[in-house]
Amino acid sequence: MRATARVYWRLLVAGFRRQSAYRLAALGGLVANLTFGLLKVAVLFATVRAAGGELRGYDTASMSTYIWLSQGLLGSVNLTGRTDLMLRVKDGQVAVDFLRPVDLQAATIATEAGGSLFALIPRGLPSVLLGAVTVGIQLPTSPVFYLLGVASLLLGIVVSSATVYLIAVAGFWLVETRGLQISYMLASGFLGGLYVPITLFPHWLQIVAAATPFPSIMMYPVDVMSGLGGVRGAADLVLAQLAWLAGVAATGQLLTRAGRKRLEVQGG
């Protein structure tokens, strides 16, 4: 058991270190995050002000917190749906992955999560810091929110990798998963609350969003870290994330097993 844990820990560290090789890419991401963040500040602040200074629980300070936390998360969660595994399933190289004495799903998620954790250093934290300096953000005072916030952030990262994993393994049946990937990219950004907090959605659309794993990837971690819904609300969101993680991970495990039987490696 301890040996198994060590293998995945090593993969996590490897993912972390691989990501650390792309420093210029991280800087590029940071510049993009900051630009989009400032544009979001302009539009969403104007929206809050047009609504009379308070909009469904958001004032400009809490809106700013939402904007910069979500911009910071952007480098660490996968909202594009693109993965290396997707290509490996398509061209059959995944057969080599199956030969390794590790679980494909756990290994893929551990490696991706490692990269995501690294991205917090050059991209996540600086985004939040720059937002705090240029616009100002409001952070909760109670340490409970920070503890829950870290848990929620980690869960968000893992739910994100576990969900994009599903797209990759759907390739065992579909071969070309680009359509699925693009649908994921559109749905995860919009329903995950990247552009507008989902509390601003009309009621029916909020229900649609809650019926998907996407808010667990971005909106819930942001809400928990900003302490907007109180301790009780934050704990509920973390529980919802755990439930989605269980569901998505179990589906991934089933699809991997079924797909492995279907996999045909062509050529010699």
Partner: protein
């Protein structure tokens, strides 16, 4: 006699130009054919591109489901801004968007192949592909613009038509220049390609917003340096006769062509600078 010879010269020049453009036309036609060859795949591509446009529209709609006006504009007026911006951007993306893949050429060293042909490298790259699927997204933009024009209280006349044509043509040229500008910088950035997304895709996002909500630094960056406000917001403000915000008076909509020229000058300068910096793939 003299006039006849000028006429001949003109005709010769015209056929000469047609001859010179022929290889580009052949490549573009083959790319267009190849995309339509797999019908299901093309239909799916069109569908997903349509969804991209619709989701972008939905973002705007969600904001307006909470408030009635933003930056002095109502939803139907914003539809006009969003529509003009998205139509111009999608068409620029259709014809210039693949310049984004330049870092792949640079990493693989395949850009060197372009040097073997007796044609300008930028022109070769631009005409090396065309993404027909973006037509679906352009259709969303056109529809939004149409609804905006029909409902936002535009007074029709030659002035409005002129503004619309000038606005769209300049918007297309400005967005196209952004892709060239970004490509020039890719020679230096390589892995940092995402940095240019800030003004190419961030620019598209900015272009569909009412610029009246921007802070002063944003007005400097996206109002003038990367002149995104000129692609849709300012022509729309001029068309609707709305009062412009600080620094962006109503009549500025007529200056959209100047913004396009500025963008192309900057884009081509960056491209030249980048190309001179390029040392070859070492192949």
């Amino acid at each position: 006699m003299a006039s006849a010879s000028t006429f001949d010269k003109g005709a010769v020049q015209a056929t000469g130009l047609r001859e010179r453009l022929r290889p580009y036309r052949a490549v573009l036609a083959s790319r267009a054919r190849s995309q339509r060859a797999y019908r299901t795949s093309f239909a799916l591509d069109l569908g997903s591109s349509l969804l991209v446009g619709l989701v972008e529209l939905a973002e705007v709609w969600v904001i307006f489901s909470n408030v009635t006006a933003l930056g002095g504009m109502h939803f139907n007026q914003i539809l006009l801004v969003f529509g003009m911006a998205d139509l111009a951007f999608s068409l620029a993306d259709l014809s210039f968007g693949h310049l984004d893949t330049l870092p792949d050429f640079l990493r693989a060293g395949t850009l060197d192949a372009f040097y073997l042909r007796p044609q300008p490298i930028l022109l070769q790259l631009i005409t090396s592909d065309i993404s027909l699927r973006r037509l679906a997204r352009a259709a969303v933009g056109a529809a939004a613009m149409g609804i905006g024009l029909a409902t936002a209280g535009v007074s029709w006349g030659p002035r409005t038509v002129a503004l619309l044509v000038i606005g769209l043509a300049s918007g297309y040229a400005t967005f196209a220049a952004m892709f060239v500008w970004a490509a020039g910088l890719q020679f230096f950035l390589l892995d940092g390609a995402e940095m240019t997304n800030a003004f190419v895709y961030g620019g598209r996002y900015a272009a569909s917003q009412p610029a009246s909500v921007w802070s002063r630094p944003l007005k400097l960056i996206f109002g003038f340096f990367f002149p995104m406000a000129f692609t849709a917001y300012l022509p729309a403000v001029t068309m609707l006769g709305l009062p412009g915000p600080d620094w962006l008076p109503t009549w500025l909509g007529w200056c959209a062509p100047a913004a396009a020229v500025w963008s192309w000058v900057m884009g081509l300068l960056c491209w030249r600078w980048g190309l001179r910096h390029y040392q070859g793939g070492g192949g």
